[in-house]
């Protein structure tokens, strides 16, 4: 793992409503040798509560290094809304957001990048591809710099 990340372990926030998907993602990230803590959330509300805190300002996570894995199709809200709020928040806007979803609609992809998403990945149905993509992502995690907590 990256030296900087090791100093202050980066927490991976995984917002994924499908338990199966969450498990497969975690398995494959681990297979890539990423050992950072992963906090799974199965719905949008819980994730929002954790990320922005009880007061909704995000000050709770001011000093945390976060990497967010975000699904767009959540049962209670659209992942796009969470992405928008994250990128508009003073304390969280620098945290990398990886959109990981089944939607491969060009309009949706464009919209996410417009809103400031850092990486957009479509979940392939073909598991070989899926596993490969997640492992690549894991490898990517090991090399990227996440803004350190101040």
């Amino acid at each position: 793992m990256n030296a900087r990340m090791a100093e202050q372990p980066v927490t991976i926030i995984m917002v994924e409503d499908d338990g199966g998907h969450a498990r497969l993602i975690e398995k494959n990230i681990r297979r890539a040798g990423v050992n950072n803590p992963i906090r799974p959330f199965t719905n949008g509300s819980d994730a929002v509560k954790f990320l922005f805190g009880a007061d909704g300002t995000g000050t709770d996570n001011k000093n945390c290094a976060l990497l967010i894995l975000l699904d767009l199709n959540l049962p209670d809200m659209s992942g796009v809304d969470i992405l928008k709020r994250l990128k508009e928040n003073e304390h969280l806007k620098r945290s990398p957001v990886v959109v990981l979803t089944t939607t491969d609609d060009a309009v949706e992809i464009k919209r996410c990048y417009d809103l400031g998403c850092n990486v957009y990945i479509t979940k392939p149905v073909n598991y070989e591809n899926f596993a490969h993509a997640i492992r690549q992502l894991g490898l990517f995690f090991t090399v990227i710099q996440v803004p350190a907590a101040v």
Partner: protein, 503 residues
Amino acid sequence: MIFPAVPRFPVQPLLLGAGFALLVAIGTATVWLAEQSAQDARSVVHTINVQEKLSNLLLNVRRAESGQRGFLLTGRQQYLLDYRDAAPAVETYLAELRTLMSDNPDRGPVLDQMDATARTKMTELAKTIELQASGQHEAAVALVQSDDGFKSMNGLRLLVERTLADEERLLLARSDASRRNDARLLAVSLAGMALVVLIGALSVFLVQRTSRQRESARNELAATNANLERIVAHRTADLTEANEEIQRFAYIVSHDLRSPLVNIMGFTTELEALRSDIFEEMAKLREQAGVAAAHADARESGGASTDPLGTGFDEAITFIKTSITKMDRLINAVLKLSREGRRDFKPEEIDMNALLASIAQTVAHRATEQGATVAVADLPPVVSDLLAVEQVFSNLVDNALKYGRDGEPGRIEIKGHTARAHVMYEVRDNGRGIDPHDHQRVFELFRRSGPQDRPGEGIGLAHVRALVRRLGGTMSLTSELGKGSVFTVTLPRRWVGENRSAA
């Protein structure tokens, strides 16, 4: 609104006819009455004339008598002047009276009597004057004193007075008749006028009523039309909404179906990985338990594939994975269709010759490999969505190439012509053809026809038909098994976008 057609139709002409008949009757009556009136006037004039003549007759006889008296008394000739003047006048008046009274045979005897009396008087006068002139004064006086002259004069006076009275009565009666006639004439004229005015008023009323009815009918019609348009607009909006709903539904369903598919595929693969671990573990255990060494080779060759247990496992996993792959393809097809359905179409002028040339270019390599030819005739241009039209013809040409007949070089022809507001394009091939039973089926999603020896999902034609429909056109198919197929695409010559019903 239903009009009371029976009373309205004949009343108007009937009224007009009645009006004309009435006018003619009034005219005739007026003419007749006027004629009558003129005749009355003539009668009155006649009567007055007769009265005048009678008076003059009497006057002249008296003048003659007075002249005679003067002459007898004085013997002077100057008194005879009056006599000589009056005597021929009496003759004249008598003759005139006879002429005037010839129309009335009743007066004949009276006139004769009058004539005779006057002549007797005049003869007596002539005789006395003659005697006086010849100097027999006494004889003349004696003749006068005989009172014959007085009697005849008196008789004449009475006759004239009686006749005058008669004429007076006649005049009165005639004036009366004339007045009555005039009154009748006036009454008839007034009544006729009143009737004409009444008929006129009735006609005006009827015309107004008819025009009012027409007006209200027109208003009603206009209202119905407006309503109809509103209903059509409403239904169109409903349909559009329903269509969009279906599109969204297809999109959401297919999209959400992918999610569990990822899991099924993922964990099946995980299971497959686990399987090798389990079988390896089992083999180790068996070895430890000292099972027959015969199995060892199989174990070493990499995971118990000859083991019936392993074979069953592999078969199950293979089927699951094949099915998942197929399901993924189908879901992707639905997604693609629904995405196409939501794409915004933009009408533009399309050079069909250039478009088909580029499609032919794309398939040229494949065509050459199959020994097939693609012939494009001169095609009329069309205003439509370029991408959609390109997809339609790519699919049709692709199908024509794909379903050729074995042992027969393929021949694909594309022709087109303009028909009023539409253009028709034909894609004809000499391929295997389609069973008439399947002519509808081939346009349905995931449905195919004939031997399933070519790759495909059964999406192409469904997609083509959906596109053509969105472009306001229609698709038809003529085909017979083993004799090739003709797909005809009919598009509006100038598609203006959005509204299908515009075509």
